[in-house]
């Protein structure tokens, strides 16, 4: 039976020849993830049911990344619980302090993710790993506890929406803009319960870091997973990182897609998502003068080394506008080090930026850059809901790193061509 890539991965992991959308399956999990916010509840649920040991200590990854370095006593308690559990269960992968970065950045970076895997994480942006041709999705803490106990998860096989990106990107247009445009078209629930499969020449031409941005934000359209078939770009990226044998799967040409969508990127401009919805997306040229108090560059959406170098290319030799706080957070210690070695951090510092340690930072209003009442920020992150980065009356505009950098210099939402 012809199947999509998502269906093939799920069939293989549930011991079936084929699966169809709507089937309830129990799938074997290759990697399970939790962090300092979702982990402690998962751990409690895990022990509450009388389970003693995790299903496989090599297949569970715990990362302290949300409220670290610990922002207060209760955050410290949560990380402590994570650390204790990692010790109790003798887990191979527990990352904290100088080893830790944003979970969705460090898992691929450390080679823990491979094409064809099923990865379940207690974080909604677990869908990021679909950029490498894996099936990955976010769940809550209890579901994750069940995975830690059994190594399996029940799933309803999602129908697939295929988005075909054609044409050639303009100079300041990134994977971020492709996905923002897609979310704008689909709406916040347009891919409700579906797999979002990104395909087409414009995606094949995207470097890996921009593919991560695209898979990362699949959840913002309500999707279960976002996925791109692993190709040479993906395999080259994995070389030297992952030692797992990649399982390269492709959608059959006659696979059933619930919907097919084509987006031509020839004329696509950088996109801005207006608060309070990642789906309120407008082209940069349609944005009136919006002055800013803060610009944030980082997160699991745009915290890769190339994201930082893109921003630095714009900021080189320039200063942030008076009254604008620029906050830059590298996604991992490796990225931080590389950004120092490549002179990127110096460019940011010269521009007047504050550099934070690798963590989720202000993305979810945790710490390191909370907005006050009435303040406005441009952010390279993934959500701009009410109160997302601070006060309920603050505003977050989502953009790509080029636009974020140019906006920091001009003190208003603007593209690099205005510099």
């Amino acid at each position: 039976m012809p199947m999509t890539i998502t269906e093939k991965i799920l069939a293989l992991h549930s011991g079936r020849d084929s699966v169809s959308p709507g089937d309830f399956i129990e799938a074997k999990v290759d990697l399970a993830l939790a962090h300092d916010v979702t982990g402690p509840i998962a751990i409690k649920m895990f022990y509450d049911t009388g389970v003693r040991n995790v299903f496989d200590r090599r297949k569970i990854v715990l990362v302290a990344d949300h409220f670290v370095p610990n922002k207060d006593i209760s955050a410290a308690q949560q990380v402590k619980r994570l650390r204790e559990f990692a010790r109790e269960q003798n887990l191979d992968y527990y990352f904290e302090g100088g080893e830790a970065g944003i979970c969705h950045v460090i898992l691929p970076e450390k080679g823990l993710v491979a094409p064809g895997q099923v990865i379940i994480g207690a974080d909604s942006h677990t869908c990021t790993y679909g950029a490498l041709g894996a099936f990955s999705t976010g769940v809550g803490s209890t579901d994750l506890a069940a995975v830690m106990a059994t190594g399996e998860i029940w799933l309803k096989v999602p129908p697939t929406i295929q988005v075909n990106y054609t044409g050639a990107r303009g100079p300041w247009v990134c994977g971020k803009d492709l996905i923002l445009k897609t979310i704008g078209i689909l709406g916040l629930d347009g891919a409700h319960y579906c797999a979002l499969e990104y395909t087409g020449d414009a995606v094949k031409g995207l470097p890996m870091y921009q593919r991560f941005s695209m898979a990362n934000m699949a959840i913002e359209a309500g999707a279960k997973n976002g996925i791109i078939e692993a190709d040479e770009t993906a395999l080259n990226w994995l070389a030297g990182r992952s030692t797992s044998e990649p399982l390269i799967l492709r959608s059959d040409p006659d696979a059933r897609h619930e919907k097919r969508l084509t987006i031509d990127v020839d004329e696509l401009e950088p996109q801005i998502a207006f608060p309070p919805s990642p789906a309120d997306v407008r082209p940069l040229s349609g944005v009136d003068k919006i002055t800013l108090d803060q610009v944030f560059i980082g997160s699991c959406t745009n915290g890769q080394i190339e994201d930082l170098s893109d921003a630095a290319a714009i900021l080189k030799g320039k200063k942030t506008a008076r009254g604008v706080r620029l906050i830059v957070i590298p996604g991992s210690p490796w990225i931080y080090r590389k950004a120092i070695e490549e002179g990127i951090i110096r460019i940011f510092l010269d521009a007047g930026a504050v550099i934070g340690p690798p963590c989720c930072g202000p993305c979810l209003g945790g710490h390191m850059g909370i907005l006050a009442e009435g303040e406005r920020a441009v952010s390279t992150t993934n959500r701009n809901f009410i109160g997302r980065m601070g006060h309920p009356k603050s505003e977050v505009y989502l953009a790509n790193p080029y636009v974020a950098a140019a906006s920091a210099v001009l003190g208003r939402i603007a593209g690099p061509e205005e510099l």
Binding site: D123, D189, H192, F385, G390
Partner: protein
């Protein structure tokens, strides 16, 4: 099961940041989370509601983050059940896992207003507006697999039963 309570109406796309803002996520204490339930959608909500009240919302309720703190906050605040046009995928799973009753109905929103009382009969699959002669609204049936989970007493009981 029957759930009877005063309703609080919300629109489409009520996200988990609105249900429980991340600034309170350095704890998973239900009491603390309950005190901030729906804070960024309706400030003071937790103080206004009475035990047993019902949230009625539009499409895609609970979109955004995977935080289980969201259904925990709603349940601990005393809300007896949530009725929405649809639920975001992760929230849907979390609610079942947390034992927060949720029901899908696309028709109720337009028929009721804030403060009215409704009665949900999950066995019958109906929602009635109290003191109204109008026909009851149908609830979308729960998939058989989910019913099995509920019968087992939730996910963790389901898997421990399977393991033994």
């Amino acid at each position: 099961m029957k759930y009877k309570g005063r309703i609080w109406k919300f629109g489409d796309n009520i996200d988990t940041d609105a249900i429980i803002p991340a600034r309170y996520l350095s704890t998973s204490d239900p009491e603390i989370l309950a005190a901030h339930c729906m804070e960024d959608a309706d400030p003071g909500f937790a103080k206004k509601i009475r035990k047993g009240d019902i949230i009625v919302a539009g499409e895609n309720f609970g979109c955004g983050s995977s935080r289980e703190h969201a259904p925990i906050a709603i349940k601990a605040a005393g809300i007896s059940c949530v009725i929405a046009g649809s639920f975001a995928r992760i929230f849907y799973r979390n609610a079942f896992n947390m034992g927060l009753p949720i029901f899908e109905s696309g028709d109720l929103q337009a028929l009721v207003s804030d403060g009215q009382r409704v009665e949900v009969d999950s066995d019958e699959g109906t929602i009635r507006v109290v003191n109204s002669t109008a026909d009851p609204v149908r609830i979308q049936p729960v998939p058989p697999f989910m019913q099995e989970l509920i019968r087992a007493g939730g996910l963790m009981k389901y898997i421990s039963k399977k393991e033994t």
